[in-house]
Symmetry: C2
Subunit: 231 residues, 2 copies
């Protein structure tokens, strides 16, 4: 699936790359030297954001060769070696339903959180397939779907004045080579580790825990993340 190449050599696509989470992941990965393709429904918009992301990553990462290009989600899905899905939950199923062919054979990393807000605050939303990651797996039968990058604050990701982020990336998935690749990718973000955290059927609570981090953020006025202790 990654043809035995090391993770540094993979071109990473970010679908929904113009949203806060996608943009934050893109800029951190680009600053770490990863080649990034930033996707959006609107290819022109993706191109604009890609240029901004490239400029910011280059300013923060002296001596790193920064490469960020924009395109439509479908073009990015086809051109990237590994794809991160960072679209809004409301558009998750529709976006992926059209991408099964370009994403076939690839590692697809889903970081989408099934969350909604009402007068009591944030709450988790039920997903018929059990979790967003399992929904992706159902829509992309020929891809290797991994859940990861749920607990990273978009605010902290985008704030390159902080060179490192204090947090772990919980990685769930059923194919060892795919989860290993995603753990290695997470480890490219300064300060972070990828920690294997179970099979895809246990993605639901990893995704939904982000709702609790929103509550933590509100109560303590912070940008909370997670560390796994004793690892």
């Amino acid at each position: 699936m990654s043809d035995g190449r090391s993770v540094e050599d993979l071109v990473v696509g970010v679908l929904g790359g113009t949203g806060p989470q996608g943009r934050g992941l893109a800029v951190r990965l680009a600053a770490a030297g990863q080649r990034v393709l930033l996707g959006s429904r609107d290819a022109a918009r993706a191109g604009e954001v890609a240029e901004q992301v490239a400029t910011r990553a280059a300013a923060a990462a002296a001596g790193v060769e920064v490469s960020v290009q924009g395109g439509s989600n479908v073009d990015v899905a086809g051109a990237a070696d590994l794809v991160i899905v960072a679209v809004p939950f409301a558009g998750h199923a529709d976006t992926l339903a059209e991408l099964a062919t370009p994403l076939a054979g690839k590692v697809v990393v889903d970081c989408v959180v099934p969350m909604a807000f009402d007068e009591l605050g944030a709450h988790a939303v039920d997903v018929p397939e059990g979790s967003v990651a399992q929904q992706a797996a159902a829509l992309l039968p020929d891809s290797h779907v991994v859940g990861a990058f749920h607990h990273l604050s978009a605010v902290l990701l985008e704030d390159l004045s902080r060179p490192t982020i204090d947090g772990d990336v919980m990685v769930v998935g059923d194919v060892r080579e795919a989860t290993d690749t995603v753990q290695a990718l997470a480890g490219r973000l300064p300060g972070m580790r990828g920690v294997y955290a179970g099979r895809l059927r246990n993605a639901r609570q990893v995704e939904a825990l982000t709702v609790n981090l929103v509550s933590v953020n509100r109560r303590y006025k912070v940008h909370a993340g997670i560390r796994v202790t004793d690892v």
Copy 2:
């Protein structure tokens, strides 16, 4: 609900105190100077385990007045100021259904995890009420139910040769005074903090994340816990 008393003065009951999680919480709380009542369906068994727990806590905590007594779950529920529910998930509903009267007006801390195992490992079990903590709240309409203490390894809790445990206690609940009390109780365990993590309707993923920690433990041969970063 705690009559304005400070948390140090509360008598803490542990239902299911003869199981690993209950015993581990009891010995740590006793070693921290908390008065503990250890409950079990079998009062005689509870008395035996209470004696062992008291001996171990006293040996580990020089200068601390250790107080652990055993009794039936119903007697402990009636006599304690605050009660931790640490029974097996399979017995959760039946145990609490009989205790609504003795637990009325009290803070009830549920640490039960809806987990089962099959040939693929651990997985979360659906609870009709949404979560174990919400099931407790439905069965105990006159108590203040809080979810907490899910992510603490029973092995580490019982290993008093480690004076501290590296981890946070995520605390969920709808009544501020109750969650504040439980956070303060968690803070009595050396090395740990109680961190408010949302309303009771978001207990499900906090409970179920324990399943992922089981996967972490298997993969890395550790006793994983959770830290909330930036708090």
